[in-house]
């Protein structure tokens, strides 16, 4: 109880509250600019969190990400370009309704259902995380190995496009994590005599490079990007939304649940939650024909799910140290940077920080209503910020931020190299988020695997003898076999169809 009050007191201290408010506006700004993602915003925020206490550092990411995911809905509705990938699922519907003169209803719905979705996620985080932390206390190296393997496998499974490319991106992240002194014998691997590489690839510059520099490169290589912006009147923006709460009450609960489950699943983020909620909504809807042509029901569902997902993403990150998505990969980096260790022990050793994070989610989602209203009010001005000025400034912040972590020029080299890698991989349809997840989970995976192997005298079967370990192991192996099974089933189906066509069956 004492920790609870301490956490709330820390949250409402002037410094932390100021950080939350400032980062909320930062999130609203970045989220509403098409082409700049919440992950980029989080990675650029990290150098600043380096100089903050643990709670404000974590709260800054909570408030920024909640606002950015909502703010992505604004350009989706006004110019048919999603501000962040999380709004992509219902962009067509939002813009179609705007063209029908219902932009106020769309944006009012976006604000309120995003806030409610976020609050639902926060409630589940508050109730499930401590329970799971109790279970996680019983985990040994076997379970942690399988959890990391499961998280990485899920990342590959949900990656857009070719899963083989997702797997290559994950391997690249894992390979980068092997650079530096090895954990078993202290032998320097892949350092080639470079002292700066002995401690491994610096996570923060690598992350800013993969997400930030690659986005800068992509943005500067676009020749032109013009759009006409619809102005929105904010007076009466919430009129009619109350009726939607009554009409789509069941949708809201269902999508909140989908968002939270997708969030808890390691590796899948708000964008996937929105797509799945959209698909589920369409399947269950009585007005299927409106989907893609201006369905407010679709916006209710997907808008609730993507914000509910955010808090869900924090569950595996806080409880197991396994990121739920790329933003929580950043969070784990920040937690380590603050000298803490994500996992069940953080609930015992620093409960005040955990309570602070819970209430930061509630506060951020409550602030979303007035701040979101304000963002809609100034949306036409925000969308007019020239990108040819904004992008060079982002580049300069990325360079300075990468340098500020260790005051080392080598980090800027890491930033540039990973930026080039991220840019070329994205251009060739390789997802880049698995690189960062591989980099974060690589040490957990290798450390727990080697520890387990050494203590069992290299008996692989012992990975399946403990009940939870066996369950996680079976889930992981099933996930690996799933794509091959699908190919086999497709081939069998084709063969049957071929035989039927030829009249042989």
């Amino acid at each position: 109880m004492e920790a609870l009050f301490h956490g709330i007191l820390m949250l409402f201290s002037l410094k932390t509250f100021f950080v939350i408010v400032a980062c909320s506006f930062y999130g609203l700004f970045v989220g509403s600019i098409p082409g700049l993602s919440a992950t980029l915003a989080a990675s650029l925020l990290v150098p600043f969190t380096f100089f903050m206490d643990p709670l404000p550092a974590l709260c800054s990411i909570v408030s920024m990400s909640a606002m950015a995911i909502f703010a992505g809905d604004i350009p989706a509705a006004l110019i048919r370009i999603p501000g962040t990938p999380s709004s992509a699922a219902y962009t067509q519907d939002s813009f179609a309704l705007t063209q029908q003169g219902k932009s106020q209803l769309v944006l009012g719905t976006d604000i309120l259902f995003s806030a409610v979705g976020g609050l639902m996620g926060a409630a589940v985080l508050m109730t499930s995380a401590p329970l799971l932390a109790n279970v996680a206390m019983k985990f040994s190296t076997f379970e942690y190995f399988w959890l990391a393997a499961l998280g990485l496998s899920a990342t590959v499974m949900v990656s857009a496009g070719s899963q083989a490319k997702g797997a290559i991106a994950m391997c690249l992240g894992l390979f980068l994590s092997t650079i530096g002194v090895d954990i078993t014998l202290g032998y320097p691997r892949f350092t080639f005599g470079n002292v700066a590489l002995l401690t491994g690839v610096s996570f923060i510059p690598a992350m800013i490079g993969v997400f930030g520099i690659s986005e800068v490169m992509r943005n500067v290589s676009q020749r032109r990007m013009d759009f006409a912006i619809t102005k929105v009147k904010t007076r009466g923006i919430f009129a009619g939304v109350g009726h939607l709460f009554k009409k789509y009450q069941w949708n809201m609960w269902r999508s909140g649940f989908i968002g939270i489950i997708i969030g808890i699943l390691p590796g899948a983020g708000a964008d996937i939650a929105a797509w799945i909620a959209y698909a589920a909504s369409k399947r269950a809807s009585k007005e299927k024909e409106l989907y893609g042509k201006g369905s407010i029901e679709a916006i209710v569902d997907a808008g609730t799910a993507n914000n509910a997902c955010l808090a869900g993403d924090w569950v595996p990150a806080l409880v197991f140290g396994i990121p739920g998505d790329s933003i929580t990969a950043v969070v784990i980096g920040v937690i380590f940077m603050k000298g803490l260790r994500p996992g069940p022990m953080i609930f015992e050793q620093h409960p005040e920080i955990i309570y602070g994070v819970y209430f930061a989610f509630i506060l951020a989602n409550l602030l979303m209503v007035p701040f979101g209203w304000l963002a809609v009010k100034v949306s036409s001005q925000m969308l007019r910020v020239p990108k040819n000025i904004l992008v060079p400034i982002i580049l300069m912040f990325a360079i300075t931020g990468a340098f500020a972590i260790n005051n080392d020029e080598f980090d800027i080299i890491t930033l540039g190299v990973l930026g080039i890698v991220g840019y070329f991989m994205e251009r060739n349809d390789y997802p880049v988020a698995p690189i960062v997840l591989g980099l974060v989970l690589g040490p957990i995976l290798e450390h727990n695997f080697m520890m387990s192997m050494i203590k069992t005298d290299w008996n692989l079967l012992l990975f399946f003898t403990r009940p939870i370990s066996a369950l996680l192991g079976i889930c992981t192996v099933a996930m690996w076999l799933f794509p091959f099974l699908m190919v086999f089933l497709e081939k069998t189906k084709d063969k049957k169809n071929g035989l039927k066509k030829n009249g042989l069956a």
Binding site: F50, A164, R189, V220, R223, N388, P392, L395
Partner: protein
């Protein structure tokens, strides 16, 4: 699936082979068990395996036509022109390299200001406007990081 996929897969196969080659130099654990080399070798194998799948996928699928460079909606409200100016992407890397090389000599403000000015100018911001924005932004970043957060930013001969 185009030519780039085959090149990409080739690069990752080469990386897999390279990892295997380097891992032979790593020591083994007592009892002859693999130690530091185990994980890199697994990864090297996975790079080769998944790259071969990418090649296989490429050879199975027919070549898809390239995406149209512009997307214009019915009302003509949105105009998106695809990625065309690759020089600017290369320029970003050149500017980062120039920053690393020159910042210790010219100092953070001058080098960073030059980086900002050149990039803005290349992105068609008017020279005078670029100059003013670069100066203001660099002073702001310097104040935040150097004065506010006490980061020892590189200072050159002018001590900036």
């Amino acid at each position: 699936m185009g030519k780039n996929d085959y090149i990409g897969a080739g690069i990752f196969i080469a990386l897999g082979v390279f990892i295997w080659a380097v891992s032979f130099q790593f020591p083994v654990l007592p009892g002859g068990h693999p130690g530091p080399s185990l994980f890199p070798r697994i990864l090297g194998t996975l790079f080769i395996f998944f790259s071969l799948i990418v090649i296989l996928e490429g050879s199975r699928k027919s070549k898809t036509p390239p995406a149209p460079p512009a997307e214009v909606d019915e009302g003509g409200n949105v105009t998106l022109i695809g990625e065309e100016n690759y020089f600017n992407a290369v320029l970003v890397i050149i500017l980062i390299a120039a920053f690393i090389a020159l910042a210790p000599h010219l100092g953070f403000i001058i080098t960073g200001g030059a980086v900002l000015f050149i990039l803005m100018w290349k992105l068609h911001v008017k020279p005078l406007k670029s100059l003013i924005i670069s100066a203001v932004v660099m002073c702001m970043i310097y104040s935040v990081f150097s004065k506010g957060l006490r980061v020892p930013l590189p200072h050159g001969f002018l001590w900036w």
